[in-house]
Assembly symmetry: C2
Homo-oligomer: 273 residues x 2
């Protein structure tokens, strides 16, 4: 029986998603909490977006396979479904910087990592005096950003490309991705970028944003990020921006009857895990 778990976390206190010995990670905390709440031996979770150290999430999606009956019988009054009860018990055990938003039974063929149609991230930058209340998830930038120039440069990056220039290369894995959305909006001195793609390679969003900030400051012309992209090799002039401005906001899945087909397609295209 497969469960889908929707998660939110403040990445500041975690060494990223992936479980590592001796380090506090999201996967490590979640798997420990699952074992406690389900009174089970260790369980393996799989996520939609393997966030790096310091990257936040409001819409992380995870799956985990559990034994039939592992959730126990539906509990009494006001407890709702067994899945709701598990979500509540997980939140009782988990630390405050990691919250379960929802637990549900996964539809047949659902795979948190391979079924998504897209992932959506936000990168937040303040180019005025930083708000102390949001400083942990908004990057403070000391110079004014030209949002129109960022949008101009961003539009030239959309579509199917080899994003090798913006990624840490990994043996045998493709860096071809489809960038579906990349746009910037200003509210006062908060500049928010929305980035949506079928999937992302390692450091891709933070490198893309690093490139666009150079344009936004007038250090580079609006065509430069597209040139970097076309070169398809890492350019030392591209800065990887800090992780704390980045939040995984949402993962989009197809209708239930397309979950398995989509997963098969992604596995084939993206190469070995």
């Amino acid at each position: 029986m497969r469960l889908r778990i929707d998660l939110a976390y403040d990445g500041g206190g975690f060494h990223g998603w992936a479980a590592q010995p001796l380090l506090r990670t999201v996967q490590g905390e979640l798997e420990a909490a699952l074992a406690t709440v389900l009174r089970s031996s260790p369980l393996s979770t799989v996520c939609a977006g393997r966030t790096d150290t310091g990257v936040h999430a409001r819409g992380q999606v995870v799956h985990v396979d559990v034994a039939e009956g592992a959730l126990g019988p539906a509990a009494g009054r006001a407890e709702g479904s067994p899945e709701d009860a598990v979500a509540r018990r997980l939140n009782g055990v988990l630390p405050a910087d990691l919250r379960v938003r929802r637990v549900g039974l996964a539809a047949a063929g659902f795979d948190a990592r391979f079924s998504p149609l897209w992932r959506r991230y936000a990168y937040r930058i303040c180019d005025g005096v930083p708000d102390p209340l949001t400083r942990d998830h908004v990057l403070a930038w000391p110079r004014t950003l030209d949002v129109d120039a960022m949008n101009d440069a961003s539009a030239r990056l959309l579509g199917l490309h080899d994003f090798a220039s913006f990624c840490r290369r990994r043996e045998g894995a493709t860096t071809v991705r489809t960038l579906l959305e990349l746009g910037w909006a200003r509210q006062g001195d908060l500049v928010t970028g929305t980035v949506r793609a079928d999937a992302f390679c390692h450091h891709m969003v933070r490198s893309l944003v690093g490139c666009l900030v150079a344009v936004a400051e007038g250090r580079r012309p609006a065509g430069w990020p597209a040139q970097v992209l076309a070169a398809a090799v890492r350019d030392p002039a591209v800065t990887v921006l800090p992780p704390h401005g980045l939040t995984l906001e949402e993962v989009g899945y197809p209708p239930d009857d397309e979950l398995a087909g989509r997963a098969e397609q992604s596995r084939t295209r993206r190469g070995p895990a």
Copy 2:
């Protein structure tokens, strides 16, 4: 020469506004930074809202009197006015949880504490799964709140009243205040209260909100907060809610030519400091 300083802070790391020996306070940090930046002996600051331990601010206003010429000559290129340069230098010295939004020369008669027409606070409550990214300034509430009932009860508290039921009494000081605005709005599971009054007594907002949450949960009828108010004595059934949901958002001042008159009027009415 009087300066007006606009401040924002994350109250979580401070023992409130007021300087106290051995404790980290907003006033203590600010006065130390001012002495450093202006190379002066200790300076005394006065604020619009003496926030308690754990209460945040986005729109705190402070005045400080400095010697003529204390700001030094206008600096070079891109530095702007001497006041802008002081703001920048203060932010270079201050910790990240306390930011100066603006420094300006105060108009004649300006008094941060006595000139305001009103103070506006927000109290933020999440009645769903808390967002880990905002958990330090939003109160997590485990039960669903009825916002319509909160607004119904709130409307009955507006106007000029003796708010003694909601305040810690202080010898010789009045607890008569004019509540100008008190309303609640929901965005998803975030419920935000806006509270505006000419001035507030100690614990007033947090007690008012504690009263209204009892209504929002259905534990008390919508008329109860007004009954508590009318009794004009502290009611042990009123809970003072935690400080971290509360943020001083804005202080409203009259036009420059009314600053001194307003200050005189407030000083007379409110009694000894």
